[in-house]
């Protein structure tokens, strides 16, 4: 087993020198982690200045582990070493362009880590694990889950965890990532709840992407200039092409705009809806039917008349009640204004 281990390590090293990160990771992942045979620790480093960043994998032996983060081209290594002599660390770096393959492997590695993290008291490692997990969910396009995790990270109160300094920029980046992922998530009630949380967080008003967050929260139709501006902030995997020939961003925007249209219209013909969304009518129908089936939008489709009828979330009589509440509030506002002016 020791010999197999050495061969695997050397092969991994070779793959790494050729920048074949996935193969290097797979080589090391074949090592039996439970054997406890290792008596020396081996740490492999990899440095690159191409600006890609992220943590994607780690391995552990003996119940302890080393977690490595690569941020902005520089390498940071942290260890939770009780038995340093029995550690094996490997850094796996993935480029954003190889999302699909590497995201699968990365998720497998992070799932292994999750068992160990739950037993660890090391705050730095827990933080780094959270960052890693959020990024992997982002890569896997599980945007809503990623958004919640990014938001959780952005709310860290401590500014010093171990020898790790948490600066405001990092928290702001996490918050911005949360907003981005929420906007890219599938439109519907779940996303609306997260949007409400983010919109009501005063820190979001200082973000560059606040204007689009506001529009998305207010369920307003997004137009090309603001979509293009938002697109510039996205990572390549967030603009990746999907099997239906729309990009991730396209799909998110189309679904959002469809939901916005459902707030503006009682009913609309599919050809008009297609014009509004910038897609062919039959695609508009398909997306609408999927959203209705998935309970993310309420409505019905009349295929004969080629019309979609939108339904409100609340019954007519409840809406009546809400309208009356609105009238009463408006009346109170007027009376308050009059009182303030001494009338």
């Amino acid at each position: 087993e020791e010999q197999v281990l050495i061969i695997r390590e050397k092969l991994a090293e070779l793959y790494e020198s050729e920048q074949q990160w996935s193969k290097a990771a797979q080589m090391l992942s074949g090592i039996d982690l439970d054997s406890g045979m290792r008596s020396e620790s081996t740490i492999l480093f990899s440095v690159s200045d191409d600006g890609c960043s992220g943590i994607y994998s780690f391995l552990s032996i003996d119940g302890t582990f080393i977690f490595v983060i690569w941020l902005s081209g520089s390498l940071m290594t942290h260890s939770d070493c009780r038995n340093v002599s029995k550690l094996l660390v490997y850094i796996l770096r993935m480029s954003w362009s190889n999302v699909d393959d590497d995201a699968v492997n990365a998720e497998a590695f992070i799932n292994k880590a999750s068992f160990l993290v739950s037993n660890s008291q090391h705050e730095v490692l827990i933080l780094q694990y959270k960052v890693c997990y959020a990024r992997i969910l982002d890569l896997k396009r599980k945007f809503l889950e990623a958004a919640l995790r990014y938001y959780d990270i952005s709310q860290i109160e401590k500014r010093q965890i171990g020898d790790e300094t948490i600066d405001e920029d990092a928290l702001e980046q996490a918050l911005s990532a949360a907003v981005t992922c929420t906007i890219l998530a599938a439109a519907g009630p779940q996303r609306s709840r997260v949007l409400a949380t983010l919109y009501k967080d005063e820190r979001c008003s200082k973000l560059k992407i606040y204007p689009i967050l506001q529009k998305v929260y207010l369920e307003r139709i997004l137009r090309k200039p603001e979509i293009d501006a938002f697109s510039e902030e996205l990572k390549p995997h967030q603009k990746a092409l999907l099997p239906d020939n729309y990009t991730v961003l396209d799909r998110a925007i189309i679904e959002h705009n469809l939901l916005s249209a459902s707030k503006l219209y009682t009913n609309i013909r599919f050809d008009e809806l297609g014009t509004l969304l910038g897609i062919p009518p039959h695609k508009a129908e398909k997306i609408a039917s999927r959203m209705i089936c998935e309970d993310r939008m309420r409505g019905s489709i009349d295929q004969v008349e080629a019309v979609i009828h939108f339904e409100d979330d609340t019954e007519e009589l409840q809406q009546w009640d809400q309208q009356i509440v609105g009238v009463c509030q408006a009346l109170n506002d007027i009376l308050d204004s009059m009182a303030k002016k001494g009338m």
Partner: protein, 248 residues
């Protein structure tokens, strides 16, 4: 209300500007005010003494423009366009927005045909885009308070493409025309406005007699339909018996 809070500062700004200018210089102030994206009320500016002094002078045409924006509609402008200066595109947009508010004063349900006629719009897409972007989404550049509901527009409502109408749920108020105050007071008196919880039920009670008549009509209709249904059922049963006899 949101619109009023947002335009209060803008109104103050233009009132000060108007107070500091006289005569023809007010023309450019009025153009700026009537083009401003966040201003939909002009009676405060009209009340400025230097503005009122324009009446009967060579510069009274500027006063007419301001009054048009305070009380008038796009159709009013078209009727008087020969006597008024040409409006810039921002002014045209604003006047059309104000026209929608005026139409919403008298009816909750605005037909597409009426809107297209009043707004000089030739197709449904153009009309809906105007209503969505320039009326419902208007006031978009203004900061929205966290406590406010998801609304920032001049109007709020639902578009019904099949029935071709726009159902208005809310519309911002325009400046009151001279003489309009009386009818407003009359409406307030009729509607028992002081009791806010009974507000809506009060308006419904006013139509309760009609409601009873309507219910009676519905009962009659239901009885008639029931009779027809019984008759149809009997006819079917008789036919079935005939066919059975013929077969046997």
């Amino acid at each position: 209300m949101e619109i009023e809070e947002k335009q209060a500062e803008v109104i103050d700004h233009f009132v000060k500007q108007a107070s500091a200018q006289k005569g023809s210089a007010l023309g450019s102030v009025f153009v700026e005010a009537t083009s401003h994206p966040s201003l939909f009320a002009f009676s405060e500016i009209l009340a400025v003494p230097t503005v009122a002094e324009l009446e009967g002078t060579d510069n009274s045409v500027h006063l007419e423009v301001l009054r048009l924006f305070a009380y008038g509609t796009w159709s009013d402008y078209k009727r008087k366009s020969g006597k008024l200066p040409q409006l810039v595109p921002d002014q045209v947009l604003k006047l059309k927005q104000l026209t929608v508010l005026t139409l919403a004063e008298t009816k909750k349900v605005l037909s597409y045909d009426q809107l297209m006629l009043e707004l000089d719009v030739t197709n449904v897409r153009e009309l809906e885009d105007f209503l969505i972007n320039d009326c419902m989404y208007a006031v978009r550049n203004m900061y929205l308070q966290l406590s406010e509901l998801s609304f920032g527009g001049l109007v709020r409502g639902k578009l019904d493409q099949l029935r071709r109408y726009f159902e208005v749920q809310f519309a911002a108020g325009r400046d009151l025309r001279p003489g309009q105050l009386g009818s407003m007071i009359q409406t307030l008196s009729n509607c028992f406005w002081l009791c806010s919880l009974e507000l809506a039920s009060s308006t419904r009670l006013a139509t309760s007699d009609n409601l009873l008549v309507t219910i009676q009509d519905k009962i009659k209709w239901a009885d008639t339909m029931s009779e027809l249904d019984k008759k149809h059922r009997k006819e079917l049963e008789d036919r079935v018996m005939e066919v059975k006899k013929a077969v046997s």
